[in-house]
Symmetry: C2
Subunit: 192 residues, 2 copies
């Protein structure tokens, strides 16, 4: 499955053969069965993880035991807990597989080495971080200014396809509403 990551690199950067090989030398391939954890609350996250296939979800569990989905990540995107990684502190999140999935992992030490030694790789990583931040900003704005229905319409517009792969309960949680509310909204918008 490394080819998919290689294709991603070729698309996002211009690398010499030596650089490509160097990057690949650090890659760890990991497969996850549906529902399998990549990270559990309390663990310290130590990787940078690229998804070549499947779908993962990042969520937290509050004192009442309710789950809150922070994000979904699918193939050709990255996942992990940056806060736990940066401060090397126990994670407040769980990450698990929504579908059978395949990942390319780098230990963060190796990843930082790559950033240092391969300028184009570093530039790519910064560009990703920029976009992640912008996406997070937009999510905050949506959560502040949209009604439940608007949140749903915005979601399916922004991420068409997600709705087909991810159980409604999880999408409802991601959007900050109950599954019942989402079910009613879907019924209502289907009519129109």
């Amino acid at each position: 499955m490394y080819e998919i990551f290689q294709k991603y690199l070729d698309d996002k950067t211009t690398l010499t053969q030596a650089e490509s090989d160097y990057i690949q030398s650090f890659a760890i391939i990991k497969k996850l069965r549906k529902k399998q954890y990549l990270l559990q609350e309390g663990d310290i996250w130590k990787y940078d993880a690229f998804i070549t296939k499947g779908c993962l979800r990042t969520y937290s569990v509050d004192e009442k035991g309710s789950e809150h989905v922070n994000s979904f990540s699918i193939e050709n995107w990255w996942t992990g807990d940056r806060e736990s990684l940066l401060y090397q502190q126990p994670s407040r999140f769980n990450i698990d597989a929504v579908e059978d999935s395949e990942l390319v992992l780098f230990t963060h030490d190796n990843f930082e080495l790559l950033c240092k030694e391969v300028p184009a790789f570093n530039a790519m990583v910064n560009a990703i971080l920029q976009k992640s931040f912008i996406a997070a900003q937009n999510r905050i704005q949506a959560s502040l200014s949209f009604t439940a229905e608007e949140k749903y319409l915005n979601f399916i517009n922004k991420y068409p396809g997600f709705a087909l792969r991810i159980p409604q309960t999880m999408i409802a949680s991601y959007l900050g509403m109950t599954p019942e509310t989402l079910s009613r909204i879907r019924k209502q918008t289907a009519k129109k």
Copy 2:
């Protein structure tokens, strides 16, 4: 007021005198009166802006005319609209001064030049972006899992001092509730 930015740089990086001078050569000092705009919706944002004094707020206005505060930024922090900057598209946000404020601006072209030519500066910028992203993630989590009261308590705990400088109406908007609700929560929590 450049000294405050210089102190920030000295604190966050190790620079040669030449590098320091180089950075300063691009700095633009800007003063803002309370309520004055730094950026208005529809404008394209072209700077990187560091606050040496005061407090700014970033907000959007929805179709019904309601304002939604996306963030506050105070001295020793950065502000701007990264989405507008990165894609050079009209901003959906307004940024204005909550108090009389002073900024150090860099045009983004110069800023990128600095990132390219001064590695320590580039590293600092990446570290800021990391932290900004983590803060945004945490804000999303809070908005998904907290009640109105928990949001307020989390806010004053995380940003003590903000509550004293920023009108309650704006804080309420930042927290995604009405001013009336915040007023009632404050009354209630004061009793305890």
